[in-house]
């Protein structure tokens, strides 16, 4: 006898993430990668000492983009640091310790870099 079943599959379209705050945030988090590419490109240009890189960097538009890139980096760091302890099977208290430690480390490294750069 022919089956009377006809399972209905709800296909996901390319906009699946648009209507849901959690998924939108996920896409933003993944989107931070674009800014990482941007900063990498800038760095490479800087290292190659391409002509006029400094004047380009002082362009207000570039400053604005870099500010956004900085925010993106912070967001990415936050999500990444929150994830890190999850990969380690720790207790809640240990989790907080790891996250705190990662932020402390980030701050310390940033300070050192700033000191070296401006000293």
């Amino acid at each position: 006898m022919a089956s009377k079943r006809k399972p209905y599959v709800r296909e996901m379209d390319a906009n699946w993430w648009k209507d849901h705050p959690f998924y939108r945030f996920y896409m933003i988090r993944e989107g931070t990668a674009l800014f990482a590419i941007w900063v990498s490109l800038l760095l490479m240009c800087g290292m190659a000492d391409a002509g006029g890189i400094l004047s380009v960097l002082s362009n207000p538009l570039i400053i604005l983009i870099n500010l956004v890139a900085f925010a993106a980096a912070l967001l990415h760091a936050k999500t990444w640091f929150d994830l890190a302890p999850k990969a380690m099977n720790l207790t809640e208290a240990q989790n907080r310790l790891v996250i705190g430690g990662l932020w402390a480390l980030t701050l310390a490294v940033s300070l050192i870099v700033l000191l070296v750069a401006f000293a």
Binding site: K4, R5, K6, P7, Y8, V9, R10, M12, W16, W17, D19, H20, F22, Y23, Y26, E30, L83, K86, A87, M88, N89, T91
Partner: protein
Amino acid sequence: MADMNKMSLRVMRYNPERDDAPRMQGYDVPWDPSTSFLDALSYIKDTLDPSLSFRSSCRMAICGSCGVMINGVPKLACKTFLRDYPEGAAVEAMANFPVERDLVVDLTHFLEYIQTLKPYILGNQRRPEEGPNSQTPEQLAAFRKFSMCINCGLCYAACPQFGLNSGFLGPAALTLAQRYNLDSRDFGKAERMPHINKEKGGVWACTFVGYCSEVCPKHVDPASALQQCKVESALDFAAAVLNCTKKKEAGHGKQT
């Protein structure tokens, strides 16, 4: 019941013998602060529309039968209350699974994936006559959280990667694998790793959306289990590369 307030619910209906696609049907349901969505669905079936199909059993959030989408969010119907939706709500079948009938979805893949990952003690020959294994509370705590999964499937309904690729073993099945990998009594990791490592449906299909942990009604935190699986998988890969190099060297040695 008569003097109770009524709430408008929209419920997904799909009869494969009649409908081409699911549709939403409205029902007015009496409620008080203790009315769960499962109570509401039962009320609909008992008094308004006996043809509504849904799964349910324990009505106390431990059997995992009654997973549905409430306003687009994966929830257990028995542990979600009308009082929290004063504007009414839409109840749909769990996302990412094929709909068989109304709120009933096809869970075949999910069950298969659980079995694939061998969620049982392996490599321990101890017999009852020898008495129980020793396991300290700390050793128990290492996997306990991951043993709390009730197999409700909400994490699959929350996982876009499973939605996009139904071959993905998915949060609950992989969590169960990690639960046994972490159990001090188990020695079966080597048998589970090939499945966890698998290119298409293995743990690397997970992109850490993290919504699975958000919707888990038992706070199992499958996202965490999957991150741990990734670490294991990476180590496993590194070990395989090392082994491979060693073997090659050994093979090379033989030839010369």
